[in-house]
C-alpha cells in the first residue's frame, strides 16, 4: 500500500491545474452574469469566455471564431459527424477506423442502419491504420473521413496529415478526434489544412469536466446538434458552461506557455515506467507502436492474468489504472482496440493502461512499478497458466484452435 494515492489513469481524466481552478474562482463570485446578456454582468462573463476562446484557438493554431464551446468530446464528435453528413447530402459513405472511441463508432454504426455505408479501417498488430486501405476504400461517394489523432488506450498516433490529404483528393470532409492529442502533441490547424472538424475536451488536459471545444473550419458546412438559442454564434444553443470553459481556457493558456516542458516530463515518466515494468516482470508485452505514440501512455499486456484483477488489486493498494475499455461492458469483453490489433490471446485479458501526467513524480513511478510487479507475480502464482513449466511453449494446440475461432468472428 502506498501512502499517497498514485494516479496513472490520465487518459480518463486529469488533475485540475491549480491555475485553472484559480481562474474559475471569480465566476463563483462577482462574475456570475449570463454571457449572452448585454448588461455589465453579462459582458464581464462574456469577456472571460472570449479570453478562453483565444487561448484555445492559440492552442490549436486556428481563429477564435472557429472554436465552438460545448459539453465535451462526445458532443463534439456527434456534432461533427452530423454536420459533415448534412453538408454532403448526396454522398452516403463514411470512413472511420476500428479503434475509434465509442462516441464515433456508435454514431456511425447507428447511421449505418439509416442507409449510410460505413467502412471501418483495420489496424495492424501495432495499432496503425494503413493509408493504402484508405486510398482503396475512399471514393466520390465518401462524405466524411473521421479518425482519431491518437488512441486513448494505446497512445498510437494516426498519420492525420496524410489521411487528410487523401480525403481532400476525393472531396470528402475530414474530422479528427484530438481528445488525447491536446496537451500532448502539437496541434497546428493552420498547417493541417485538411482538417475540417477537430474535437477536444477540457478535462483531459487539466481543465474541468463538462466543457470541450469543437473546431469548425471557416468554410466547412455546419449544422447545430442542439438548437434553441443564439449561443456560440448559433452553432451550439444553451447557456455556456462558463466555469468549465474558463478552466479549459486557463489550462490551454498554460499549455501555450510551457507544453514542451510538460511533454518532456511525461516522456521521462512514461519511459521510466515502461523500462521498470519490462525489467521487473516476465512475460509482458507493450501493446501498440512505440515510435508514434503519445508521450504519456503505456499499454502493457501481462500474460496469463486478468486485467481487471490486477486493476482491483492495485486499487486496493492505492494505485489507479485502467484496464482497456472493460468498464463499458462490465468486464466481459476485452477492449475493442486490442481485439482489432489482434493482441495475442495470452495477453489480451491481462492488458492494462498506464498514463502519466505532468504532475507524475519519479517516486510514484518507482512505487507503482514495485507494486505492479508484486501483484502480477501474485496473480500468476494463482493462475493455472501462470507457472513457468506450464506456459513454456505458449498456447496449447486446443487453445490455439479456440483463439483462431475467436478472432475469426471479430
Amino acid at each position: 500500500m502506498t501512502e499517497r494515492p498514485i494516479y496513472l489513469d490520465n487518459n480518463s481524466t486529469t488533475f485540475p491545474a491549480p491555475e485553472a481552478v484559480e481562474a474559475v474562482l471569480p465566476l463563483f463570485g462577482e462574475i456570475y452574469g449570463n454571457p449572452s446578456s448585454t448588461h455589465g454582468f453579462g459582458q464581464k462573463a462574456r469577456h472571460e469566455l472570449e479570453l478562453a476562446r483565444e487561448n484555445v484557438a492559440k492552442l490549436l493554431s486556428c481563429k477564435p471564431a472557429e472554436v465552438v464551446f460545448n459539453s465535451g468530446a462526445t458532443e463534439g464528435n456527434n456534432t461533427a459527424i452530423y454536420a459533415a453528413l448534412d453538408g454532403m447530402p448526396e454522398r452516403k459513405h463514411i470512413i472511420t477506423s476500428r479503434t475509434e472511441h465509442a462516441s464515433v463508432l456508435e454514431v456511425v454504426r447507428y447511421l449505418e442502419q439509416s442507409g449510410y455505408r460505413v467502412t471501418e479501417l483495420n489496424v495492424d498488430r501495432l495499432g496503425r491504420i494503413d493509408l493504402d486501405e484508405l486510398k482503396n476504400e475512399i471514393s466520390g461517394d465518401t462524405a466524411l473521413v473521421s479518425l482519431m489523432w491518437a488512441n486513448n488506450e494505446t497512445g498510437v498516433i494516426n498519420p492525420v496529415n496524410a489521411a487528410g490529404d487523401i480525403a481532400k483528393q476525393f472531396g470528402a470532409l475530414f474530422h479528427v478526434d484530438a481528445v488525447q492529442a491536446a496537451g500532448k502533441l502539437k496541434i497546428d490547424l493552420a498547417e493541417e489544412a485538411a482538417i475540417d472538424y477537430l474535437t477536444i475536451s477540457g478535462h483531459k488536459f487539466h481543465g474541468l469536466k463538462g466543457a470541450g471545444a469543437l473546431f469548425v473550419r471557416e468554410k466547412a458546412p455546419f449544422l447545430p446538434l442542439i438548437r434553441g438559442g443564439h449561443h456560440e454564434s448559433g452553432r451550439r444553443a444553451g447557456t455556456e458552461n462558463a466555469m468549465g470553459i474558463v478552466a479549459m481556457g486557463a489550462a490551454a493558456g498554460l499549455l501555450n506557455r510551457e507544453m514542451a516542458k510538460h511533454v518532456e516530463h511525461m516522456k521521462l515518466m512514461r519511459d521510466r515506467l515502461q523500462s521498470g515494468l519490462l525489467a521487473k516482470c516476465d512475460d509482458v508485452i507493450i501493446n501498440g507502436d512505440q515510435q508514434d505514440r503519445l508521450p504519456n501512455t503505456v499499454n502493457a499486456g501481462f500474460k496469463f492474468i486478468d486485467g481487471e484483477a490486477l486493476l482491483m488489486m492495485l486499487d486496493a493498494a492505492n494505485i489507479s489504472v485502467s484496464a482497456g475499455s472493460a468498464c463499458q461492458s462490465g468486464g466481459l469483453e476485452p477492449s475493442h482496440v486490442l481485439k482489432a490489433m489482434n493482441v495475442p490471446l495470452s495477453a489480451i485479458h491481462g492488458s492494462v493502461r498506464f498514463c502519466v501526467s505532468r504532475y507524475t513524480e519519479p517516486e510514484e513511478i518507482d512505487a507503482a512499478v514495485e507494486q505492479i510487479s508484486a501483484m502480477v507475480m501474485r496473480l500468476r502464482e494463482m493462475s493455472p497458466f501462470g507457472h513457468t513449466e506450464q506456459r513454456g511453449n505458449g498456447l496449447s494446440a486446443e487453445e490455439l484452435e479456440k483463439h483462431k475461432a475467436y478472432f475469426a468472428t471479430v
Binding site: F304, D306, L332, S346, M382, S383, Y406, V410
Partner: protein, 297 residues
C-alpha cells in the same frame, strides 16, 4: 466499473485455499485462455468421502477469484454427494450476491465441481457432451448449446443479456444472438410454467431490506441453526431494521444467559462476514411468556 460487496473484495484480496494439492483425490478443471477464465479445483477426500481439503488455481476476474475461494470454503467438511449439490446461486449467496454480469464466474466454479464429482464417481461427462453433438453456439467464448440450455432452466433466464451474465455466451461479437433467441424460445416452451424467480441475487451494496432479510435467514439456516439443533435449540429471526438484527432463541438455548451472549457474538460475526459488516445482533429472548417482538424505540 462494477461494485462488489465487502465479502467479494475480501475473498478477492485474501483468497482462501489458493494452490495445488499434490495429494488430491480428484481434480476438476474448466475454462481456457480463450474463454478468458479457467479454474482448477483440487479436492482431497477421506475414507468416508468427506472433503478434507480443497484448493484452487484460477485465471480470471476478481469475481472468478472470489467465487473459487468461496467454493473451496463451502466444500470443506462436506460429504462429496452433498457438495455436488452446491449451485452457482449458492456460491453467489455465500459472497453476499454477485453483480448479474459476473454470475458466469459462479457458474464456472460450479462446473469445475461438477467435473471433479463426475470424475470421482466415474460418470463420463465427455461422452455425454459428444452424444449431444454440441457445436459452440457462442464461438467467442466457446460455449456449447447444452450449457446455455441448462443456464436457462436452472436460473429461469429470458434474455440474451442474462445468458451472457450466466454463461458469457452472446457477450462477444453478437453473431450468435439469433441462435440464442431460438434456444430461449425452445427451452422456455419446454419448461413447466411457474412464477418467475428473480434471475440473480442483488449485490449487497444496494440490498433492499427484504433481500437482506433473506440473506440473513440463509446464513442462520446454514451456519447457525444446524449447530443449535444438535443441542435441542433453535434461533428465530424476528426482525431486521437497518443493520439491527433481532433474534430469539428457543428450546434449550433460551434458559442459558451465558450461552446466549456467546451466541450473539458468534451469529454477529457470521452475519458481518457474510451479509453486512455493520450488522448488530440484538437478542430479544426473554422468559418464554414474553412477546416475540423487537423492543419499541
Amino acid at each position: 466499473m462494477l461494485t462488489y460487496s465487502q465479502k467479494i473484495k475480501d475473498h478477492f484480496i485474501n483468497p482462501r485455499n489458493v494452490g495445488v494439492l499434490t495429494d488430491a483425490t480428484v481434480l476438476g478443471e474448466v475454462g481456457s485462455m480463450a474463454a478468458g477464465q479457467a479454474l482448477k479445483l483440487y479436492l482431497k477426500l477421506d475414507d468416508t468421502e468427506v472433503i478434507r481439503d480443497a484448493r484452487f488455481q484460477v485465471f480470471g476476474s476478481p469475481s472468478a477469484i472470489a467465487a473459487s475461494s468461496a467454493l473451496t470454503e463451502m466444500l470443506k467438511g462436506k460429504h462429496i454427494d452433498e457438495a455436488a449439490r452446491i449451485t452457482a446461486d449458492d456460491i453467489s449467496q455465500y459472497l453476499g450476491g454477485l453483480p448479474p454480469e459476473k454470475m458466469h464466474t459462479c457458474v464456472m466454479s460450479m462446473e469445475a465441481l461438477e467435473v471433479a464429482y463426475a470424475r470421482y464417481r466415474g460418470i463420463d461427462l465427455e461422452t455425454e457432451l459428444d452424444e449431444n453433438g454440441d457445436l459452440f453456439v457462442c464461438r467467442c467464448y466457446g460455449i456449447p448449446e447444452h450449457k446455455i440450455e441448462r443456464a436457462i432452466r436452472d436460473h429461469n433466464l429470458t434474455t440474451i443479456e442474462q445468458i451472457a451474465h450466466y454463461t458469457k455466451a452472446g457477450g462477444g461479437c453478437n453473431t450468435c444472438h439469433p441462435d440464442l433467441n431460438a434456444i430461449i424460445a425452445r427451452v422456455r416452451a419446454e419448461m413447466p410454467s411457474e412464477a418467475p424467480k428473480p434471475a440473480a441475487p442483488r449485490p449487497s451494496g444496494d440490498m433492499t431490506n427484504l433481500d437482506k432479510m433473506r440473506a440473513i435467514q440463509e446464513v442462520l439456516d446454514r451456519e447457525v441453526r444446524p449447530g443449535l439443533a444438535m443441542d435441542g435449540g433453535d434461533m428465530e429471526l424476528v426482525d431486521v431494521q437497518g443493520n439491527k438484527v433481532y433474534v430469539q432463541l428457543h428450546g434449550h438455548c433460551n434458559s442459558c444467559a451465558s450461552s446466549s451472549a456467546t451466541m450473539k457474538f458468534f451469529v454477529e460475526d457470521r452475519l458481518r462476514e457474510m451479509v453486512d459488516p455493520e450488522i448488530v445482533v440484538i437478542d430479544t429472548t426473554e422468559h418464554s411468556d414474553q412477546l416475540h417482538a423487537p423492543p419499541m424505540r
